[in-house]
């Protein structure tokens, strides 16, 4: 379970202070598919970054699986990210010099899995996203949708507790976006917990639960009508 209580975040630059989050409280339980929507600048990415331990916060509490994350060392946070979180980025963030296989391999190596286990996992997740025929391809040789599928496979390979996606379809055309959404739905159906930031209301409607953010706070938090 992912639990935020009154979390705030302030970005300080020389000239200005930006209150990116102003007391966000939110719980995400095992198996949920939560969409986070809201206008640009409302703090969605900031929320996701804190949830995924990419950034620290200034006030409130954040518990990941019941553990307080406030005082973790940098390497402890890395380890938690590696084991519990799977990230999916708007820009796919595949490593351009590595082929599909090696890209999916990246988090597994940091996990310290043995080669044969990594290979098994990579083949399984690539099969799941339908790209097991493209293992030797470089990212540049794939379409945007395929690249995002590789990224999803990479996020899934370590069997994380949470999948965090920041505008995963933001760089894709509608048709491809739907395909990726379908894939996420399937993954959710398979038992995964997903938090997805999106600005596309249609896509948000597909989620079980929709959280709307505005000015760094949760404006509404609705379950989808059954």
């Amino acid at each position: 379970m992912l639990e935020m209580r009154d979390v705030s975040k302030i970005y300080r630059t020389d000239a200005v202070q930006t209150h990116a989050l102003r007391g966000v409280s939110l719980q995400v339980s095992q198996g949920e598919f939560v969409a986070v929507v809201g206008p640009s600048g409302s703090g969605k990415t900031t929320f996701l970054n804190i949830a995924g331990l990419l950034e620290t916060f200034d006030g409130g509490r954040f518990l990941l699986d019941g553990n307080d994350t406030a005082n973790l060392s940098d390497s402890a946070r890395s380890k938690l990210r590696n084991e519990k979180i799977g990230f999916i980025f708007q820009g796919f963030n595949l490593i351009p010099d590595l082929n599909v296989f090696d890209n999916v391999d990246v988090p597994l190596r940091y996990r310290g899995f043995k080669a044969h286990e990594r290979k098994q996992r990579i083949e399984r997740v690539l099969e799941l996203v339908g790209l097991h025929q493209r293992m030797k391809h470089l990212p540049a040789q794939l379409s945007g949708g395929q690249q995002q599928r590789v990224a999803i496979a990479r996020a899934l390979a370590g069997e994380p507790r949470f999948l965090l996606a920041d505008e995963p379809t933001g760089n894709l055309d509608t048709q491809t976006a739907l395909g990726v959404m379908q894939l996420l739905d399937e993954i959710h159906a398979g038992g995964a917990t997903i938090v997805m930031v999106t600005h596309d209301d249609d896509l948000a409607q597909r989620a079980q639960r929709c959280v709307t953010m505005r000015d760094g706070a949760v404006q509404s938090d609705r379950a989808r009508a059954a």
Partner: protein
């Protein structure tokens, strides 16, 4: 270890890596060979001349008047020198070790043209030469006053007794112990033979660059020439103060000749090896510069590679890489590049040395130098990569979601 992915990633971005590897190979070749050459020069520069250099200085006296009294001047000069407080002894000789000008001749063990002669420097001086120079005899006895003959200008031939250096004895009578060559005959040129009465441990010729620099003969002669060199032995620590005093005293005692500026044996040695010292200095500068440039090249390459991969680093961190993982990645990548360069460098180094051996007659390189060069540049490469690698691991994980 992420050896495989790093190699595959490198293979797709070869240019910079290959250039740096080549630079490292080149640097290693130059540095190791230069270091080896410097070592060789230093060893040459450290060879003892056989004389007590730290208590010796020399100066020249050249009579210029037509009726110059060489005999009287010599006696008067030696008397003056030997009675100067602080002077231990002084002799008139035809040449000074390492002084770069002097006499040489050929020595052989039998007369006639069919016998190969061995080149040797020819020292002339009276029975106090061995003591004044501080020579060590390994066999035989010193000259006595009775052994000494007068040498006047334009005289031919040699005295009937002489001393040889060990090195010359080894050339003339290979495999003979010094003791065994006493009493043997030596033919200098085509003159009557002289008998070896002593073997000198070491007395270098005036020419430090001569390959036979250790081969010398000393004959017992009193130089009745208008122009002679005085070698002066002083008490320890008094030489440098005595030099100007002696010069002044000689110059004023007899105005019919010119006294040349005295020079300590230390300065003579410096002058003799000036080229070697200069070459060593230049090579050292070249070595330091090349290593510095290579280090800068490595810093540049790693920095560039970090800057090009900022987003990738953020992504890796987001996927679970610790700072240490990121640092290790760049150090390992650089280690691979450096190692490729050093392996090429080792081959080039040995190849270049083989060329200097065959073309220039340089000595064959000791492989320890090659290993040392590799170790040095490995460390330099590692240290150079450390800064940029440190910057890489300071890149925030949030870069993954914040950059497009």
């Amino acid at each position: 270890m992420e050896f495989g992915p790093i190699l595959r990633s490198l293979a797709r971005n070869k240019t910079g890596a290959v250039l740096i590897a080549l630079q490292i190979a080149f640097t290693m070749t130059v540095v190791v060979n230069a270091y080896f050459i410097i070592g060789d020069r230093q060893a040459r520069m450290q060879r003892p001349s056989g004389v007590a250099e730290e208590t010796l200085f020399h100066l020249g006296s050249a009579g210029y008047t037509t009726n110059y009294d060489a005999v009287g001047s010599l006696a008067q000069d030696l008397q003056l020198l030997r009675s100067t407080p602080g002077v231990v002894d002084a002799v008139a000789v035809n040449q000074i070790p390492l002084d770069s000008s002097g006499w040489s001749s050929g020595a052989k063990t039998a007369p006639g043209n069919e016998h190969q002669s061995v080149p040797t420097a020819m020292y002339m001086g009276d029975h106090r030469t061995v003591a004044t120079f501080g020579l060590k005899l390994v066999a035989g006895r010193d000259f006595t006053e009775a052994d000494v003959r007068d040498r006047v200008p334009n005289m031919r031939g040699w005295p009937d007794k002489l001393m040889v250096t060990q090195a010359l004895a080894a050339q003339l009578w290979p495999d003979e112990a010094p003791q065994a060559v006493l009493g043997r005959s030596v033919y200098i040129g085509d003159e009557a033979p002289a008998t070896v009465i002593a073997v000198i441990e070491k007395l270098q010729a005036p020419w430090s660059g001569w390959s036979q620099v250790e081969q010398s003969v000393l004959v017992p002669e009193k130089l009745l020439w208008p122009s002679v060199n005085y070698m002066v032995r002083t008490e320890p620590g008094q030489r440098d103060a005595l030099m100007p005093l002696v010069e002044e005293a000689l110059a004023t005692s007899n105005t019919q000749r010119i006294v040349s500026a005295p020079e300590s044996m230390d300065d003579t040695r410096k002058r003799s090896y000036a080229l070697d010292a200069g070459v060593s200095r230049i090579l050292t500068v070249v070595m330091v510069l090349l290593v510095a440039i290579t280090a800068l090249g490595v810093i540049g390459l790693v920095s560039f590679s970090v800057r090009r991969r900022v987003k990738q680093i953020g992504t890796r961190r987001a996927l679970g890489a610790t700072r240490a993982d990121i640092r290790r990645y760049f150090l390992l990548e650089n280690f691979i590049i450096t190692s490729v360069g050093l392996v090429m460098g080792a081959a080039l180094t040995v190849g270049f040395n083989m060329w200097t051996v065959s073309a220039l007659g340089f000595p064959k390189i000791d492989l320890a130098y090659v290993a040392g060069g590799m170790l040095l540049l490995w460390v330099v490469g590692l240290l150079a990569a450390l800064g940029p690698a440190q910057r890489a691991c300071a890149i925030a994980p949030a870069v993954a979601t914040r950059t497009v």
